[in-house]
């Protein structure tokens, strides 16, 4: 599979997609949405959608989809080949959400949750399918968080679609299984072939599945930390696994949006409006200097 759009800069997100089969433009379609790699502390999260005409549901079932989690990697790869081969009636799209994107988005000043990231990716892919001309009528989504809220949100955005948000959708609906396989295969592929642009020698490659509970992943995280930078962008810094490790083992880093409670408690300086009464007025500098954070040097 051609992942070059992602691998040339894996710090950013990328979308891979098939052509939209003509029949998907002509006939009403169902579309399934699922994700892979939500839990891992390493690598991207991948969102997949697949769609086919409602009339092709039987054909789809014949491809033999099942819950991707019950399949072996080989079986998934095989099914993904079948999906690509079924390009006369089956279309798909995959969005790779880079670990760097996940980190910096979740750690932003304005909070942005993984649920929000997930939904936005799903919505974006659905929108893209529609923009590409697919005549989507029914949408099946594996749940993210509260199914009814998610359903409500999607329904609000796409009032003319028949939307079903449900847990285990990939086991219930073959079109979601297909989406799940696309996402999972791409996630595995990206994980295996990850290019560390920080340098090949920067870390070892025995990082396992990327799940925080995987002993290989645990060892890798413990052995590959840089005390200044933490980890390469391959690691999701927004995971508590990561922040706990950094807190304990790396040099501490302070940002201006943390410790707000602490500063409210009185780390304010004499410049503060609530300056101590005994402050020497002669020490006060003109606002020109204060605004530029320029202070007299008293010693080296």
């Amino acid at each position: 599979m051609d992942l070059s759009d992602f691998t040339k800069d894996n710090s950013e997100n990328a979308i891979l997609k098939s052509i939209v089969p003509q029949i998907c433009k002509d006939e009403p379609c169902c579309l399934g949405i699922d994700e892979a790699g939500r839990g891992p502390v390493l690598g991207p999260m991948v969102y997949g959608v697949s769609f086919c005409p409602l009339s092709c549901k039987e054909k789809l079932e014949q491809l033999g989809f099942a819950d991707s989690k019950t399949l072996s990697e080989e079986q998934r790869d095989e099914l993904f080949s079948k999906i690509k081969d079924a390009n006369d009636f089956l279309g798909f799209e995959v969005e790779i959400l880079s670990p760097n994107y996940i980190s910096k988005t979740m750690l932003r000043r304005t909070k942005y949750s993984l649920n929000a990231i997930s939904m936005d990716s799903a919505i974006g892919l659905l929108r893209l399918a529609i923009e590409q001309g697919a005549n989507i009528k029914e949408v099946y989504v594996d749940t993210v968080g509260d199914a009814s809220k998610y359903q409500e949100k999607l329904q609000g955005l796409f009032p003319r679609l028949e939307i079903t948000v449900t847990p285990k959708a990939d086991a219930k609906f073959p079109i979601v299984s297909a989406a799940s396989i696309c996402a999972k295969v791409v996630r595995d592929q990206v994980l295996k072939s990850w290019i560390f642009f920080e340098g090949d020698d920067i870390v070892t490659r025995d990082y396992g599945s990327g799940y925080p509970s995987d002993p290989a992943t645990k060892h890798w995280l413990a052995d590959n930390m840089d005390k200044v930078f933490g980890y390469p962008q391959f690691v999701r810094f927004s995971w508590s696994t990561t922040s706990t490790l950094l807190e304990n083992k790396a040099y501490h880093v302070h940002w201006d949006d943390e410790d707000e409670d602490e500063s409210a408690k009185g780390t304010a300086s004499l410049f503060s409006f609530f300056a101590p009464k005994n402050a020497d007025p002669r020490d006060k500098q003109h606002s020109f200097f204060e605004e530029r954070h320029l202070k007299r040097v008293e010693s080296f």
């Binding site: 980190s103 750690l107 642009f197 962008q233 954070h293």
Partner: protein, 144 residues
């Protein structure tokens, strides 16, 4: 005791790539800046705007020139003398004429304190140039 800057060391100092980070790192020492940081720097659409990530957070950066007529130096004191009375000497290890400054998630702007601070030498000159006051008084009077 006195404190000196060894002038000869300035000539011997090497040009350095210098970044003013938008966070405080509790460490002074070696860091794999080329591997971890420089590889993360991207140019934004506006050529002057840069982005990077550090510890999973977004930094927005811009290159700032050292004020005209000025030079940037990194000064190092190799060994602080044991006795308070002894003279101390600082060595220039690096020099630079520009540096990149980084803000947490905020695109650099002319209102950033560091940009305004770089204007100080020019403003300072207006205060401290020992110009002939009679001349300047004349010019001021003629304006009134």
């Amino acid at each position: 005791m006195s404190l000196f800057l060894n002038k000869k060391s300035v000539a011997d100092s090497s040009p350095a790539d210098v970044h003013l980070l938008g966070c405080n790192v509790e460490h002074t020492g070696d860091a794999k800046v080329s591997e971890f940081f420089k590889t993360a720097i991207r140019k934004k659409k506006n050529e002057n705007d840069l982005s990077a990530t550090f510890r999973g957070r977004t930094l927005c950066g811009q290159v700032l020139n050292v004020p005209t007529g000025y030079t940037g130096l990194v000064l190092k004191e190799n060994q602080r003398p044991f006795m308070e009375e002894e003279d101390r000497t600082l060595q220039a290890t690096h020099q630079f004429d520009k540096f990149t400054y980084w803000n947490l998630e905020m695109t650099p702007s002319v209102n950033d304190a560091v940009v305004k601070a770089m204007m100080w030498p020019e403003i300072a000159e207006a205060i401290h140039a020992a110009g002939d006051t009679n001349d300047s008084q004349e010019s001021v009077k003629s304006q009134r």
